[in-house]
């Protein structure tokens, strides 16, 4: 894995494409156990991200990710805006100074991101939120040094299965208590797409 400025921008562009394509799906997921806006929020946010990135010249991955963070923070709102914003801000800080981001550094940055989300949202693993996607992906990254995009997506896929069975205690889904079991968490699913986009860019590496 070698994230340079170009690839980071590509990651965001691919993420945006997915969010636009999955807008209705994410919104529908947010209806039974939320307020039916997550797809709208993500589509709006990542469109603004791409607009911002296309308008700006960057020399550093960290700078790209800082703009991603600030744009999400100031264009999304809701619960997901500050949480995604915090995650990208933490990654940006962690990779500061690096011309290209290698797997090890990215793994460290992801740990920071997970901690940032937890702190911001006063939540932890097992509460049926986006943390239950960010955290297992981050953990998978820490393991093997021959970690490949396919491994990441395997972890993501497994997380998707297990998040469904959790009972929500944080976010809007918490109002439904045991009724939330059996539903996917929209924030976990949008996180899945974020990393799926990363996998696609990463696969193009070699």
């Amino acid at each position: 894995m070698e994230l340079d400025v170009l690839k980071t921008v590509e990651w965001m562009e691919q993420t945006n494409e997915k969010m636009q394509a999955k807008k209705d799906e994410l919104t529908t997921l947010d209806q039974p156990i939320g307020d039916g806006d997550h797809g709208i929020n993500m589509a709006r946010g990542f469109q603004e991200v791409v607009n911002k990135l296309n308008d700006t010249e960057y020399n550093e991955v960290s700078a790209v990710l800082k703009d991603v963070a600030m744009t999400l923070m100031s264009k999304v709102g809701g619960a997901s805006g500050p949480l995604y914003g915090t995650a990208f801000l933490k990654i940006s800080t962690a990779v500061k100074g690096a011309g290209t981001v290698e797997r090890d550094l990215f793994a460290k940055a992801l740990t920071e991101a997970v901690n940032g989300i937890k702190q911001r949202g006063k939540a932890t693993e097992g509460e049926k939120t986006m943390i239950d996607m960010w955290s297992p992906i981050s953990e998978a990254f820490q393991q093997a040094s021959d970690f490949r995009p396919e491994d990441m997506m395997e972890a993501a896929q497994a997380a998707l299965e297990s998040v469904k069975e959790l009972e929500a205690t944080k976010g809007r889904a918490a109002y439904f208590k045991e009724k939330s079991v059996g539903h996917l968490d929209p924030g976990a699913v949008s996180t899945f797409y974020l990393f799926e986009a990363l996998a696609d860019v990463w696969k193009g590496d070699n």
Binding site: P32, D35, I40, V76, G77, G81, G171, A174, Y175, F176
Partner: protein, 331 residues
């Protein structure tokens, strides 16, 4: 989806413009935001009062701007909290050096974005205090969870904290009285139909023709129980009982009651509900000091209502009755 709008993605912007155009001598828009602010803000010697949240709850929140209530209302997209930078602009616009008070409804999004704005404001040297409204007894209250939602009871917080600030109360005095309102207000709602977020294009949930949903929130979140439609009297009884089970109000105590329409409910039905609510309260020996009926905190075109009870004392009563020029709560 049948709506009188232009572009669904422009609905909030169009709405905010239309609101300001209705009261051009009273309010204005902070440039490049969806924050509506009193034209005379910041007001020397007065604590600034900030509220806001997702759109779709009209007349909340901009309708509560005016002498005696809010100084600024920051609107987000429909059912989506506004972003910290917008809230920050709102805070800065109303700070006259006496500090700024934030009224936040207890949703993760609102809490996160408003708290981040508060941190940013404090970093710029502005004193900020806040209250988190959590009046919805339909939701379980526990320190391990998100906690209860803030719904129509928020209007009483606007009114009473607003009156306190207008009367020259200090930031800590405003906070104290707002905390008291939150400790003494309880609400619960029900719905017959759900509203449709313009950009989503389909209703938040679907009910059969003979079904209602008890314990709904104000964002199209489904409720805690779905059951066959009951009579107005049965509905009033269930909601009022749940509220009174949750708060210690006894014989001879005085309260304010709000029968709130959620958007598509004819006022006729709210009066029918009120008939029963007043009878229940009379039977319990609870004195109703004031009753408010109408649309105060809505959920787009949801058909349904909520009932709010505020336990009053000699401090709260005059603040509730104090003058207000807010278009949605004139006194």
């Amino acid at each position: 989806m049948k709506k009188i709008i232009n572009d669904p993605n422009q609905a909030v912007q169009d709405m905010v413009n239309g609101f300001v155009a209705a009261y051009p001598d009273k309010v204005t828009l902070i440039p490049e935001t969806l924050a509506v602010v009193r034209k005379d803000a910041p007001i020397t010697g007065k604590v600034g009062l900030v509220s806001g949240g997702g759109s779709g709850h009209e007349p909340a929140h901009a309708g509560y701007i005016g002498k005696g209530m809010l100084d600024v209302a920051v609107a987000g997209e429909v059912f989506t909290s506004p972003t910290p930078d917008q809230v920050l602009e709102g805070i800065k616009a109303v700070d006259a050096g006496e500090g700024v008070f934030l009224v936040i409804k207890n949703y993760t999004g609102d809490v996160l974005n408003f708290e981040m704005a508060a941190e940013l404001a404090e970093a710029e040297g502005i004193q900020v205090e806040k209250v988190i409204v959590n009046d919805d007894v339909a939701v379980e209250d526990s320190s391990f969870t998100t906690g209860r939602r803030g719904i129509a009871g928020t209007v009483f917080v606007h009114k009473i904290a607003g009156a306190k600030a207008e009367a020259g109360g200090s930031l800590s005095e405003v906070k104290q009285v707002a905390d008291k309102v939150v400790a003494n207000v309880r609400s619960m709602g029900m719905a017959l139909t759900s509203g449709t977020v313009p950009a989503a294009g389909k209703p938040g949930f679907q009910l059969e023709d003979n079904e209602m949903e008890i314990g709904i929130g104000i964002h199209g979140e489904p409720g805690i129980e779905r059951k066959p439609i009951a009579s107005a009297d049965t509905i009033a009884q269930e909601l009022t009982d749940r509220i009174l089970d949750d708060i210690d109000i006894s014989n001879g105590n005085e309260i304010a009651v709000l029968i709130n329409g959620l958007g598509a409910t004819p006022e006729m039905e709210l009066y029918i509900v009120n008939q029963k609510v007043q009878a229940i309260l009379r039977d319990r020996g609870i004195e109703v000091y004031r009753t408010y009926i109408g649309e105060y905190m809505t959920s787009l075109e949801m058909a349904g209502c909520s009932i709010t009870v505020l336990h009053l004392d000699d401090e709260l009563k005059p603040l509730l009755d104090a003058p207000s020029e807010a278009p949605a709560f004139r006194r």
